[in-house]
Symmetry: C2
Subunit: 387 residues, 2 copies
């Protein structure tokens, strides 16, 4: 939509394609991880990069602003404006972004930044000193060679810790087990969670042994958060994707397909019976180009297909996409069921973060129906956009 | 950006990541295809789905509204509001969208719709009759088994033509050689262009032989538009991607890398020298998940890397992406050049349509520089969003 859409009473109303959130499933997914975190005795700091929604965030902490992780300063600013004052920006800080961080700090927001080099630490320390405002910083720890960070025994660790501490900016350490997104058994994810914990606990220990105070010891990813069995030494658990889940997570076994809370409503616009194709008006612009299940045991194409009520159409897969066209075929190559032009379907995505990003917001459904049996739309929840 | 950004004087100013358009290259790309179309004697109807920008469209037709093709009704409405009155919506029409089409028709906009089934034709004809407003419709012709459409000798062709004609809605036929995006030689693309032309000309002939008037005979894709050698019988040529081009088109040989007009400015945020990685703040959220060159002879990862002035950094490729992180490595596996934290780079995308869609607009540069030598930003051009 080019602007906030007019209220729609049910899923047969809005023009397609559009994104839908099943709020019952979202609540269930949130409750599940919260119960796990409670059992582990570690507070959650949910990553809001998946939904980018203040309304979804309100479900995370019983309607009051709580600790969150963000992936952009645009998210940080939007959450701060909505009353969140405890935020971690979990992407390595670029020096030119520090003024935006300081602007939030001056408004009373605790916004932690992330870094893994002495040059970043010096830049943050200098900016903090010049502004007379501490910028709490976490040192990124690499637990699995996936992306940024220092390995726990890197000599620079205590150097960086010292630079930050001298400027009153040292907050702690953070790790993210990116490799866990390809851990296809519960045991592999448990080991990844242990590796994530061990790496930050070891790094925190080295800093403390050097006389550098460590407040935050942060770990998390959706796969490891759902598999961790012991988070001793960890002070907070992060995860983001779990609010919606997706086919990648279902393929790993972290959730069931029935837990997927995000889908995209599309309309059938044609058929090619000679190829077994059903064509829709939802292409990669609506689903994203993410093919995250391509490397899994079960390739789900661009998504699994459900009817408008959310019940899977057995065997039907979105196997191809152009910008505004989707192609649905039966996994077994047989003829698809009768789906006349105009039929609305819901496509469950590979990767909720990527698919959600293609939309300006979510039409929200719960279990209720209108008199014609179509799922009732309860609300429209806008997304935070850009950087 | 969450809203239109404040004016930036050069590419060192805006927060990263952001999209940049080189307007000199855009003008050159537009002039090249216009010269081709002039030689072929066929008017162009550019597809605006790539840039989705009224400012780019102003370059297409010398600053005055001209014929365009759109991929969404949101584009149609935005272009109509800007004075364009000759628009083709080149995605098979869903019946529920016809009221939006009629609303534009009542405002004096000629908005052609596309269809390939008798049920769609009946639905359009009935809506047009009820409204007392003709809805010009084109019949989609399948020239290569790529997506929707009728093969030229399909028995339904004249049935559909008759339904449309009886309601005053028959406009013509349209084909798109989707398979040409994998035609890796000029000769293959020329053959694809002939196939595209032959299919619509044959279909138009069958309709005319049945006494059904055909006004528009439309073909086009960026690869075929640049290879067609004879468009006899065709009344218009469509192409979209060519305004920006991208690495997929360069990989096919349709353009050179030097023609690429769209890039994304990112900032270096870290290094992993043990892996040969340079990390940036531009991940798939900024580039899209499109890996269109993966199936080409030269896989370009998520994109080639240039410095802020647009000069390629030889051998440097964006090889991995997470949501807000990009990983750059040397193609030969060697150490990357020194790129300190804070360095700005420009990443040239696989697929301009997909990358552009991740942004709210374009910072526009031409050849001019500021006093520090950074490319000067001349304007910010917003994109049309949503459906």
């Amino acid at each position: 939509m080019t602007s906030a859409p007019s209220p729609a009473t049910d899923l047969s109303g809005p023009d397609t394609p559009f994104a839908v959130v099943d709020v019952d499933r979202t609540r269930r997914n949130i409750a599940r991880l919260r119960a796990r975190a409670d059992r582990l005795g570690v507070p959650l700091r949910p990553h809001v990069k998946t939904a980018k929604s203040l309304d979804v965030a309100a479900l995370l902490h019983d309607g009051v602003p709580g600790p969150v992780t963000v992936s952009t300063l645009a998210e940080a600013e939007a959450f701060a404006a909505a009353g969140h004052s405890d935020i971690t920006y979990a992407v390595g800080i670029a020096p030119h972004k520090v003024p935006r961080v300081l602007a939030l700090a001056r408004r009373g927001v605790t916004l932690r930044v992330l870094l893994d080099s002495a040059e970043q630490a010096r830049s943050v320390a200098a900016a903090a000193r010049e502004a007379g405002t501490a910028v709490p910083a976490q040192i990124e720890i690499d637990c699995d060679g996936h992306r940024g960070g220092l390995v726990p025994d890197a000599p620079e660790l205590t150097v960086i810790g010292g630079i930050l501490h001298d400027a009153g900016c040292l907050d702690g350490v953070l790790a993210h087990a990116g490799e866990s997104y390809s851990a296809s058994t519960e045991e592999e994810r448990r080991l990844a969670a242990r590796g994530e914990r061990d790496s930050v606990v070891a790094a925190a220990g080295r800093l403390r042994a050097a006389g550098l105070p460590v407040r935050t010891v942060s770990v998390g990813s959706t796969p490891t958060a759902h598999a961790a069995d012991d988070l001793t030494g960890v002070t907070e658990l992060r995860a983001g994707n779990y609010v919606f889940f997706d086919l990648v997570m279902a393929g790993l076994g972290v959730c069931a397909v029935d837990d997927l809370a995000l889908s995209v409503v599309v309309t059938v616009i044609g058929h090619r019976p000679e190829y077994g194709w059903v064509l829709t008006d939802g292409g990669w612009m609506a689903m994203s180009r993410d093919r995250g299940t391509a490397a899994q045991a079960q390739d789900q194409g661009y998504g699994l297909v459900a009817d408008l009520s959310g019940a899977l159409v057995p065997g039907l897969v979105m196997t191809a996409a152009s910008q505004e066209h989707g192609t649905l075929t039966m996994r077994d190559g047989g003829p698809p069921p009768a789906l006349p032009v105009g039929t609305r379907l819901r496509v469950l995505p590979n990767h909720a973060c990527a698919t959600a990003a293609q939309h300006r917001g979510y039409h929200v459904v719960d279990g209720s129906r209108n008199t014609a049996g179509a799922p009732a739309v309860e609300a429209f929840w806008p997304r935070i956009d850009g950087w």
